[in-house]
């Protein structure tokens, strides 16, 4: 660790992993409810489990992004964090707000939660991914503002690198776009139209900037490749991400009552969205092949390469699969959507957070890299989680195709519930793959506690090869 204040990243990463475990447990509960409809009913209805699953996902990814920023910004800026105290306070505010919200979902009926939190004053609840009570949303905004301020001041007062500036742009964008979650008109078309300004413009817009900068940071550190080269790639990647992804929002405007020209705009531009993800893959392998040093943290290198590949598969390939309007007409809101959602979120954002944790946690614990034995366990967990996610995606894709053939692309469409019964087999297999995922995750956590083997203590301050920026 080069700067003392980087240490504030550690609780963020620990919280992230803790909530990740919770997310997966609720995923497994839902997976069970898909095949045994009355499982845990009426104690934990499906919608409650789903809110917990998806909201924990978002919250732990945000913890991960914040931890990443607190770790890499001091190093990039070559100065201590503006206020480590603020970072610690915001950590607890965010954790307590998150925990209370999840407890609220679990302990009282949702309608009661809406009443308790006075949703009437400014109704924002009850929309997918944005289920949080309005008061929680306000809390998120406050935490985000404090965080962006802390990071922003640090960056602007120190050395400005492309990595840190792009990260800052992404984080500011994240905070600003979240404000659209407060806009909730009665008109369903407008509600849906701007809802995507949060959801799509996050994952296929500003989050890609965050992804690219964290990936670039880790690649600079573990490969020692010249920063100039990496920054040039980064610019091209994020340029393509925004050029394709902004108008690409149109792939959600086909069937919600928006004008029909979105079928053209949305199809064409979103068809370009895989390009930045493909470039990221080429970039990551290229840099690792051109590496100027053998970094002892093999696991981190594997996570970085894995992120690039899986993000391309999940977002690029599985996204393209259903993004053209004539195809989306049949696939819209089917299990195929869930297949894509899982692999894209895992490949891009789960994996990038696990990458930066893998790289920085040993350093935060005073080592350069985990012991070879710990790394071995971590690498096992990489393969277990990643392969089981591939299978979850494949099984859901199978379910989705069957669903479409029986319910939509046919002259004798069967009712939804009848079709769900017929494709039960796929859901059982998805649940099986989900259990393997959990095993992988347990292994991942246990890697932090593996002792023994020789360790590489930090001797030099390494990491920087001809660090210049313009």
């Amino acid at each position: 660790m080069k700067y003392q204040s980087q240490a504030v990243a550690k609780p963020y990463f620990i919280a992230a992993i803790g909530l990740f475990i919770g997310q997966i447990l609720f995923g497994l509960i839902m997976g069970m409810q898909y095949v045994a409809g009355d499982f845990l009913f009426p104690e934990i209805p499906f919608n409650v489990a789903r809110m917990v699953h998806t909201n924990l996902l978002i919250v732990w990814l945000l913890f991960g992004f914040m931890g990443a920023a607190y770790f890499l910004v001091p190093e990039e800026s070559e100065r201590e964090l503006h206020s480590p105290l603020l970072a610690k306070i915001l950590f607890w505010v965010f954790l307590v707000a998150g925990a209370l919200t999840v407890l609220g979902y679990l302990l009282v009926p949702y309608a009661r939660l809406a009443e308790l939190t006075m949703n009437d004053l400014l109704p924002t609840m009850g929309r997918e991914f944005l289920e949080q009570p309005t008061i929680t949303k306000i809390g998120i905004v406050i935490v985000a503002l404090g965080f962006v301020y802390n990071i922003g001041v640090t960056i602007l007062a120190g050395r400005k690198t492309v990595v840190s500036l792009v990260l800052l742009t992404g984080l500011v964008g994240l905070a600003v776009l979240f404000l659209f979650s407060f806009y909730n008109p009665v008109n369903v078309v407008n509600d849906k139209f701007y809802w995507w300004w949060v959801v799509h413009l996050w994952v296929e817009g500003v989050w890609e900037l965050i992804l690219a900068s964290i990936l670039a940071f880790v690649l600079i550190k573990v490969t020692g490749v010249d920063r100039e080269v990496i920054e040039k790639w980064m610019y091209v990647i994020i340029a393509m991400a925004l050029i394709s992804g902004l108008i690409g929002t149109g792939h959600h405007y086909f069937w919600i009552g928006a004008p029909e020209y979105w079928q053209w705009w949305g199809s064409i531009f979103s068809a370009l969205e895989p390009i930045p993800f493909f470039m990221m893959t080429v970039f990551a392998f290229n840099m690792v092949n051109r590496r100027r040093r053998e970094h002892p943290n093999k696991a981190a290198v594997l996570w970085a390469l894995g992120t690039a590949v899986m993000a391309f598969l999940g977002a690029g390939v599985w996204g393209f699969l259903h993004t053209l309007a004539p195809v989306n007409y049949y696939t819209h809101g089917s299990q195929l959507t869930a297949a894509h959602g899982h692999m894209a979120f895992y490949g891009a954002y789960v994996m990038i957070v696990l990458t930066i944790i893998s790289y920085s946690m040993p350093i935060l614990r005073g080592q350069k890299a985990g012991s070879p034995r710990a790394q071995k366990v971590e690498i096992w967990s990489f393969w277990l989680m990643t392969l089981s996610m591939v299978f979850i995606t494949l099984f859901l894709t199978g379910a989705g195709i069957q669903q479409i053939l029986l319910q939509r692309y046919t002259d004798n469409p069967l009712p939804f519930m009848v079709v769900q019964d017929k494709i039960e087999m796929f859901y059982w297999m998805r649940e099986g793959a989900g259990v393997v995922f959990l095993v992988g995750l347990i292994l991942y956590v246990s890697a932090f506690f593996v002792k023994g083997g020789e360790r590489e203590e930090i001797t030099d301050s390494s990491g920087m090869a001809s660090a210049t920026s313009s």
Partner: protein, 144 residues
């Protein structure tokens, strides 16, 4: 990448490209705002429909169902349920009202929300309003 393509060229593409496409996106949004009223069935939006949307949201129906294809994939699409139920708001109300508290053994279950008559009427009117939005022919058939 070769030397002829420099970092500052890449940076310019990033700034120029993003600025251009942000503006284009805003222009399309602006145009959409003026086109949407032709398709969005806003004539049907009443106080009752507004209450219906609130009931929809405060009971998190989207956590199991899709509405115009967005939401969860656990239970039937409801954007066209008004048509599927023979254009009968009474049938919709009857269905919601009759959910057993303990669920249906072995079957995916919908909770009993204990809605008031006013809320039941409102949610049914809300679903009828959504049913009237011009969705360019989606879903492909009545099963959603």
């Amino acid at each position: 990448m070769s030397e002829v393509f420099t970092k500052s060229m890449a940076r310019n593409i990033y700034y120029g490209g993003s600025a251009f496409f942000i503006l284009l996106f805003l222009a399309l949004t602006f145009d959409t705002a003026s086109e949407v009223p032709k398709r969005d069935n806003h004539e049907a939006i009443t106080e009752q429909v507004a209450l219906g949307k609130k009931v929809w949201e405060e009971n998190n129906c989207i956590g199991c169902h899709t509405l115009l294809g967005e939401g969860a994939y656990f239970a039937p699409e409801l954007g066209n349920v008004y048509t599927r139920f023979g254009e009968s708001t009474e049938a919709i109300i009857g269905f919601i009202q009759s959910r057993p508290v303990e669920g249906i053994p072995g079957r995916r279950s919908m909770p009993q929300f204990n809605l008031s008559d006013e809320e039941l009427q409102a949610i049914a009117q809300f679903l009828k309003y959504v049913n009237g939005i011009n969705t360019s022919g989606w879903p492909p058939n009545i099963q959603g």
